[in-house]
């Protein structure tokens, strides 16, 4: 066996000069720092992160810089293109599009992150239970996961919105009801890939030596999962979570575009597009700005997800 693989520095070459230098070169680098170093080299992902940062801060801080009401109706200035008074133009009621875009962006991003958290929570829970419990419970949970994967998401989303919208409105108010319903339903229909991923990770990790060592030291099942297995399974989960934010933003915009998301007086990017689609010939800017914003946000998040995927994969050489 010795000498059969000349490429690797194995134990039979302790005197080699490279190895002698090793101790000085090998500074300890935490996995997080290593991941960040890999991520930094992914130009498109870094660009995506910067674009997303600009979008998020613009949406959050913008209203302080541009304090125009979202429902300030001015018929004298309706359907105008971009100008100094209205940097992104106005809609058919003369309402300022920049102010409405910032308001809608807050909703879209909030829905995206909240739905991602719901999907991750459910997915990690189902996946880790299935991954730890082999046998009938695992089989049943995976059957449920596959069943949910075969459900047509958008029709079901529309059905639930249609059936529950009015009663949620009564309980939680107009905006709150729509927000909770959309987040729960999108999250509830997006957890399956997370669950499958977590289960697959658990199946391989729970047989590893370090988990066995923890088990031998008397760690309870919960402690094995929380302290040892879950942290090691988290990389791919974060990647899927990132992409889920983008998917949730698209779903929310689609619902609003079809008139079944937030109520029509709440400006979201999707509902602005729906209102604008009848004025495409005279006021194209009205559709292009919110549509472009959705596209830019989703693209930026997807590139970040791509960069994270490469960064978390230790086998990959950049």
């Amino acid at each position: 066996m010795a000498g059969s693989t000349p490429v690797s520095l194995s134990a039979d070459a302790p005197a080699s000069p490279q190895l002698a230098v090793q101790p000085r070169k090998a500074r300890s680098i935490s996995p997080a720092l290593e991941t960040w170093r890999r991520f930094r080299r992914h130009t498109l992902a870094v660009t995506g992160a910067i674009v997303l940062l600009i979008l998020v801060s613009g949406v959050l801080l913008g209203p302080y810089v541009w304090p125009v009401a979202i429902n300030d109706i001015d018929f004298a200035a309706k359907l105008q293109g971009p100008s100094l008074a209205h940097p992104l133009g106005t809609d058919d009621l003369g309402q300022d599009l920049l102010a409405r875009m910032m308001y809608g962006g807050r909703i879209s991003l909030a829905v995206g992150f909240a739905a991602m958290l719901v999907a991750l929570t459910v997915g990690v829970l189902v996946g880790s239970v299935a991954g730890m419990a082999s046998g009938w419970l695992d089989a049943a949970l995976m059957w449920l996961t596959d069943l949910f994967l075969a459900l047509p998401t958008l029709p079901l989303l529309l059905l639930v919105m249609y059936l529950f919208r009015d009663s949620m409105k009564k309980v939680l108010g107009v905006e709150g009801g729509a927000f909770v319903l959309i987040v729960v339903v999108i999250g509830g229909l997006r957890w399956m890939p997370v669950a499958r991923l977590v289960r697959a990770q658990f199946l391989s990790l729970r047989e590893k030596e370090f988990v066995e060592a923890a088990r031998a030291l008397g760690a309870s099942k919960v402690r094995q999962v929380v302290q040892h297995i879950l942290p090691n399974a988290l990389g791919p989960v974060i990647v899927v979570g990132t992409i889920d934010v983008a998917a949730a933003i698209i779903f929310e915009s689609t619902l609003s575009f079809l008139g079944l998301g937030f109520p029509s007086d709440v400006p979201t990017w999707g509902s602005m597009l729906r209102d604008a689609k009848d004025y495409l010939d005279i006021a194209a800017h009205w559709a292009l700005f919110p549509g472009g914003a959705i596209f830019l946000t989703v693209l930026a998040i997807n590139f970040i997800g791509d960069g994270l995927r490469d960064a978390f994969d230790p086998r990959r050489v950049l």
Binding site: D146, A150, L151, P152, L156, Y162, F164, L273, K277, D281
Partner: protein, 320 residues
């Protein structure tokens, strides 16, 4: 191919269809709203009559009994009556379904015929300029929401260039070739919108699948036997790389139906997607339930077909 495998797959599909029907019924049963709510507030109707009516229509039955009743009606094709369109729901859906299937089929064909060559070419030379451009465009296609692509295409090709009509018309007064020409012309934009969204995802699948296969030893063997590179790629690599892609295409179907709903709504294509939206806005519950059920069944059916195809393409699967 092995018949046992097909039977096993069909037997697996039945419980998932039942599971889906339970979920749909559960959503409907949990939904608030009582059909006899009006009677409760009407002083002319005594409570005993209301109770008798509830008992007659089975509203007080236990949930499982109501589910069985509902499910047997669905299986027998008794899907209710659409108050909006004044006809039976099953006839209404059957009338609209072919258009949707044609649009989805054409867009899938477009997506596959674009994505496979692009994905293969990108994977043959990974990290080349072509690969980077293709991957970036795939990412853009995958990030563009269908409703925005649709509006941009309308803006460019209908409003600016005036080449294509943006409203789909079922009543074209032309005959012969002109009739088909008009139909094709008005189908271009919906098909392209739906196809491009799919192509983005497919390019990524195809690229990674080819990258997985191209490293395998049998490809090196084929090359060392002196087979031309072109033949190695087409006959040896792509054939095997396509196998996992078949399943991935089937898994994408729920998303395709979602895209079809949006696309039909934008271009006013008279398929089941636009019917679903119209029914929701008009509170036409039997139609909404019927369409959701049909789409779920179609997804399960296509998954079954993909599973069977998978077993045929890769015989190892069917002997597991």
């Amino acid at each position: 191919m092995n018949r046992q495998y097909i039977i096993r797959r069909i037997l697996i599909a039945i419980p998932s269809l039942l599971g889906i029907s339970v979920i749909l019924f559960g959503v409907l049963a949990m939904a608030p709203g009582d059909p006899f709510e009006e009677l409760a507030t009407n002083p002319a109707i005594p409570p005993e009559v209301r109770m008798a009516l509830r008992a007659k229509f089975g509203l007080d039955d236990p949930v499982w009994q109501r589910y069985l009743h509902w499910f047997s009606a669905m299986v027998q094709g008794d899907w209710g009556f659409s108050f909006q369109s004044r006809m039976d729901v099953d006839r209404l859906i059957l009338q609209r379904l072919p258009v949707t299937l044609i649009v989805i089929g054409a867009s899938q064909l477009l997506a596959i015929s674009v994505a496979i060559p692009v994905g293969v070419l990108a994977a043959i030379k990974p990290y080349s300029i072509f690969d980077q451009i293709a991957s970036t465009f795939a990412m853009i296609g995958f990030s563009l929401p269908t409703f925005f692509t649709g509006l941009v295409l309308i803006l460019v090709f209908s409003i600016q260039l005036d080449w294509l009509p943006f409203v789909y018309r079922a009543d074209i007064n032309a005959t012969g070739w002109a009739f088909y020409g008009e139909h094709i012309k008005q189908s271009i934009m919906p098909v392209v919108v739906l196809g491009l969204a799919q192509a983005g995802t497919l390019v990524r699948f195809m690229r990674s699948s080819v990258l997985d296969v191209i490293r395998l030893d049998y490809v090196t063997t084929a090359r060392s036997k002196g087979i031309g590179e072109r033949k190695v790629i087409v006959r040896h690599v792509v054939r095997n790389a396509l196998i996992p892609v078949v399943t991935l295409i089937a898994l994408q179907l729920p998303a395709v139906f979602g895209g079809a709903i949006v696309t039909e709504q934008i271009f006013r294509v008279p398929g089941i997607g636009s019917l679903l939206i119209a029914a929701i806005l008009a509170n036409d519950t039997p139609v909404v339930m019927g369409i959701t059920f049909v789409i779920s069944c179609l997804v399960v059916l296509f998954n079954l077909i993909a599973d069977i195809l998978y077993g045929w393409l890769d015989p190892r699967i069917s002997f597991r």
